[in-house]
Symmetry: C2
Subunit: 142 residues, 2 copies
């Protein structure tokens, strides 16, 4: 099987409670947390864990292909345990970041691929707007 435990061991990484806990946070959320959010999440359970460990672990998880790093135009990165390429949207009112998995972007990618002389290896799509809650609260203008 390809559990995180196996993947870590196969690559010569040690399996530590911290690493398992950080990965578990990412797998169990849809909020696309930043390193600090993960750190805060784990504070109650791992009060001695440091932010540096979160960063170091995330880097390994990215290397293993278990996590992808997002840049939704904030000061910090966010992380997603769903590693296939799918569009994301960030609410300009409350800052939440959601997946946009409903739409298939293959066709769009294909048309770009056909139009450019680059050899494309990946892509990131970011949308910005106002979530339903913020629309009601009139946190948006225009």
């Amino acid at each position: 099987m390809d559990s995180i435990t196996t993947l870590l061991r196969n690559r010569g990484f040690k399996v530590t409670p911290q690493r398992l806990a950080i990965y578990k946070v990412l797998v169990n959320t849809r909020s696309h947390p930043s390193a600090e959010m993960i750190f805060n999440d784990l504070q109650p359970v791992y009060p001695t864990m440091s932010l540096a460990t979160v960063y170091k672990t995330i880097e390994i998880l990215q290397e293993l292909g278990l996590v992808q790093r997002l840049n939704v135009g904030e000061d910090s990165f966010r992380y997603d345990a769903i590693v296939d390429s799918h569009p994301h949207i960030r609410c300009l009112g409350c800052g939440r970041v959601d997946d946009l998995e409903e739409v298939d972007s293959q066709e769009f990618v294909k048309s770009i691929d056909e139009a450019t002389s680059y050899k494309i290896t990946g892509q990131q799509f970011y949308f910005f707007g106002y979530c339903p809650v913020c629309q009601k609260q009139k946190k948006h203008q225009n």
Copy 2:
């Protein structure tokens, strides 16, 4: 007319040689420079200009809608005087960033807009791959 001079004055900003020079760099390039690249470009002509001035000016230019800020997954931002929303691609071999203006993304945006409950106000599309030069030089694997 809507020259940068007029736009600055209309908003109560002063027209300084530094501001004009920074904007000129952005208008005359397709390389999507970072703040530091702009700073380096101007060193020969404005040897006393500081990086802080570049940042402050760029912020004003963004406010005026003359410049957009890109995040192509590097440590620093890049800037583009072409302000309409168009996809960008960064070469993983040499780091160059190009426009992908050939393809119309309206349809893709529309399909996302119809599928989400967000009110979309903007989007950014980033592609990654290898430019023709780097493909020849085999800077890519696989």
